[in-house]
């Protein structure tokens, strides 16, 4: 089994010299060696079409045509680019998160649990990162009562943590009429 070296040989290609330089600097800062396309790179990074058949797995940033091992959104972070290069060099396929298009649907199609007014207020406090004590102060109830409502929220939303409750709670549908 071959081991992927921590320092990869990366070829940076693209139509625009400024963008290419920026990507090359970013790759170098991640600890990789920037090489020519002809110098047997471990992976290729590009923000434009690759003219010739790529000699190594390629990661494309933004909408680039072709059958590529890695695809990242236009605003991928340096960490994501680094992770994608390592992954494709190891033979994996990388895709950025696809935007969640909700699709054309009806009201409350998913049958989300119905919360009480107090639970909605507590959830709003959680989403702002307030502690139980701070939430209690804002809502004018005891921390014990806040805890009670949070437990009920966990149960209704099927959440195991405050963060999960907030994420799931945010999915609830507010309808503007």
């Amino acid at each position: 089994m071959s081991v992927v070296p921590s320092r990869l040989r990366i070829a940076v290609v693209g139509p625009d010299a400024t963008a290419r330089n920026r990507l090359a600097m970013l790759v170098a800062r991640s600890g990789h060696e920037v090489v020519e396309l002809t110098a047997a790179p471990d992976a290729i990074l590009t923000d434009g079409a690759i003219d010739s058949l790529p000699s190594a797995p390629a990661v494309a940033i933004g909408a680039v045509e072709g059958d590529l091992a890695g695809r990242l959104p236009p605003h991928a972070s340096p960490r994501q680019i680094d992770a994608a290069l390592r992954a494709v060099a190891a033979g994996l396929t990388v895709r950025g998160p696809t935007p969640q298009h909700p699709g054309f649907g009806s009201f409350a199609e998913d049958g989300w649990p119905v919360l009480t007014p107090r639970e909605i207020e507590v959830l709003a406090a959680l989403s702002e990162g307030l502690s139980n004590k701070a939430a209690a102060r804002r809502l004018g109830i005891s921390p014990h009562t806040v805890k009670f409502h949070i437990e009920s929220l966990f149960k209704k939303l099927g959440a195991a943590s405050r963060a999960e409750a907030v994420v799931k709670g945010l999915k609830r549908q507010i309808v503007e009429i």
């Binding site: 699709g103 009806s106 119905v114």
Partner: protein
């Protein structure tokens, strides 16, 4: 050697090919800024209908029909409620389409969905998975039937014609939640087509409220006469609800005398005919029931 005329599978395949060949000129590839975005259906001689959800910010497009004819086009109207967008072509293909509206769809019937892909016309064949009654979309539009197709579809193909086995038009395809393929029925498109072509939009009632289903606190259920309502999460400034004194935090119980456990019920009350009409809102505020009269306004442009 088996007689080809007797081979039903070959017969079906040939019939499908023939059907697609005859209908493909109705399929529009809609290109925006030089890139194919979605499909559409040539509805009238210079009108293409598409699924609105992909074109929220787009004004101009190029339309390439299945037979290669291409036209500059602009979005003449759009309705988020029914997910219908209407493109007007600069020029008109010849002949104009003469679409047959399909009979009432039935689960299990074959459905042929056409779209435009890189290669040209693309085809999906499946059955009608289910047919439900009229429903209301999140954006408040009324869709005459809930027709779900048993097929997958790429985004590019959305908006193309969906045909029944007789070649009649069931409607246009659209992607629903979890990428299920739904049909916007022909009748639904027809109902919004005229207002979209003449005014660019479909007027719908509006109260200026953001609502969320909520459990009525137990202590007040007896007073309210129900266990569920809609909590007012926001009130649009100067909207009809704000003008009559509705406040965030109120719980809406009934609208025009009808209980509102679900937002869809409110949407049903706010169809195009409701604009300008008075409507009674019963609310729960601080443990007391109160009744307010609002005058329904037209939903402002987004």
């Amino acid at each position: 050697m088996p007689d080809i005329m007797q081979d039903p599978l070959k017969g079906l395949s040939d019939a499908l090919v023939e059907r697609v060949r005859g209908m493909q000129w109705l399929v529009a590839r809609i290109e925006v800024d030089g890139r194919p975005m979605r499909s559409g259906t040539l509805w009238r001689k210079d009108v293409v209908v598409a699924a609105e959800q992909a074109f929220a910010q787009v004004a101009e497009a190029k339309v390439v029909l299945g037979d290669g004819a291409n036209f500059a086009a602009h979005f003449a109207g759009r309705d988020r409620g029914t997910n219908v967008a209407v493109l007007k072509l600069d020029g008109a293909p010849d002949p104009a389409p003469a679409l047959q509206t399909a009979a009432e769809p039935a689960p299990g019937a074959l459905a042929l969905a056409l779209g435009a892909d890189d290669a040209g016309v693309s085809v999906r064949l499946g059955v009608i998975h289910s047919v439900g009654p009229a429903w209301h979309s999140r954006a408040g539009g009324r869709i005459d039937r809930r027709i779900v197709l048993d097929m997958t579809m790429s985004g590019r193909e959305e908006g193309g014609p969906v045909l029944d086995a007789g070649g009649s038009l069931l409607g246009i395809s659209t992607l629903g939640p979890r990428r299920r393929v739904l049909v916007i029925p022909t009748a639904t498109v027809e109902a919004v087509l005229e207002p979209l072509l003449s005014t660019g939009r479909v007027e719908r009632g509006w109260l200026g409220l953001a609502l969320q289903p909520v459990l009525v606190p137990e202590a007040m259920q007896a007073e309210a006469g129900k266990s569920r309502g809609l909590m007012i999460m926001g009130v649009a400034k100067d909207g009809p609800a704000a003008q009559t004194g509705v406040l965030a935090g109120d719980i809406l119980l009934t609208i025009a005398g009808e209980g509102v456990s679900r937002p869809a019920i409110v949407a049903q009350r706010l169809g195009p005919q409701s604009v300008g009409q008075p409507i009674e809102l019963r609310l729960l505020r601080a443990g007391k029931i109160l009744s307010l009269m609002a005058t329904v306004a037209a939903r402002p442009l987004e």
